[in-house]
């Protein structure tokens, strides 16, 4: 009973068979299972195969999440290092898609981690640099922009 396999199907028809313990990281699936979808393939309409495979890869690594009181520093460091390498390989667009999918799947751990990765990316950047990164248009009028910048000036000397 404890090594049940769950079948997930992505929006583009890819199937993934994973252990129930891993699937339970996705709260949306926990709810579906409680509502009696267990044993059948679970369709995930909002997630494509490529993104789902990345998410499952992450979930498998984190299936035995160390608790706060866990003394195993070595294991934590290894996991952090794995996490960092996992994100490093991904471009920004993929990370966004992962955030969206993790939000949909209700996978708190990855949602937090991926969001923090993007936040770290724009940390300490100027508004112009941030616009460049996300391809955002500046839709302020010059007067609005002046006012907003004054309001949000971090220091009074710069």
């Amino acid at each position: 009973m404890s090594s049940n396999k769950i079948l997930l199907t992505s929006s583009d028809g890819e199937s993934f068979e994973i252990d129930e313990a891993v699937a339970r990281k996705f709260l949306i699936i926990v709810h579906m299972m409680e509502d009696n979808c267990a044993g059948e393939a679970i369709p995930l309409e909002n997630v494509t195969g490529d993104i789902l495979s990345k998410i499952i890869e992450y979930a498998k690594m984190h299936v035995n999440e160390p608790s706060e009181e866990d003394e195993d520093e070595e294991a934590k460091k290894n996991l952090d290092s794995w996490d960092a390498k996992f994100m490093e390989k991904l471009d920004l667009e993929t990370i966004f898609k992962i955030i969206l999918a993790a939000n949909y799947l209700n996978f708190e751990g990855l949602l937090g981690f991926a969001s923090q990765t993007v936040a770290d990316y724009i940390k300490d950047k100027t508004p112009e640099e941030v616009r460049e990164i996300f391809n955002i248009e500046n839709d302020f009028t010059p007067e609005e922009e002046e006012e907003i910048r004054k309001e949000n000036a971090w220091t009074f000397n710069e």
Binding site: I122, K125, E137
Partner: protein, 157 residues
């Protein structure tokens, strides 16, 4: 929503037309949830920068719960939720941050932000509020805030 190639004309607010690239682009502004998740995790100065990016970001950055989280991020244990209604009545967390916390952190960026510092900020915030309310009303004109000392070094010798 699958990403598709799209060509479109985007009208800027000052009436210039710009051709959108023929490349699948993930537009963060189409995903409000994602934007909130990211802004929630920024530090104060980065959040202030983010508010200057565009109108949507400015609006999202005004979300008081983001500033509440920022105020409490390094404070442990977390203050009780009843604090929220008090701070809201005084003007909200964003105001608290801008008035009492930002000037201090801008001048002392390495300051460890703990419960004591937060308590002190809250007290100062109350001072500021009542000053505006009572002293301002009495004098008929808003006096300079006592909190001006947070921005300028004070010689205490």
């Amino acid at each position: 929503m699958s990403s598709e190639k799209r060509v479109g004309m985007v009208e800027k607010s000052n009436n210039k037309r710009q051709r959108v690239n023929q490349v699948p682009v993930f537009s963060i502004n189409d995903h409000h949830d994602v934007l909130v998740e990211i802004l929630r995790r920024l530090d104060g100065s980065s959040l202030c920068s983010a508010a200057c990016v565009c109108r949507l970001w400015s609006a999202v950055a005004r979300n008081d719960s983001i500033w509440e989280e920022l105020c409490f991020r390094q404070v442990s244990p977390r203050p009780s939720l009843s604090l929220r209604s008090v701070v809201s009545a005084l003007g909200g967390y964003r105001c608290l941050y801008f008035l009492c916390i930002r000037p201090v952190l801008a001048r002392l960026p390495k300051l460890l932000w703990t419960r004591d510092q937060l308590q002190l900020s809250l007290s100062l915030y109350c001072v500021h509020y009542y000053e505006r309310l009572y002293v301002g009303a009495w004098l008929g004109d808003a006096p300079p805030s006592s909190l001006i000392f947070l921005r300028k070094p004070v010689n205490v010798v």
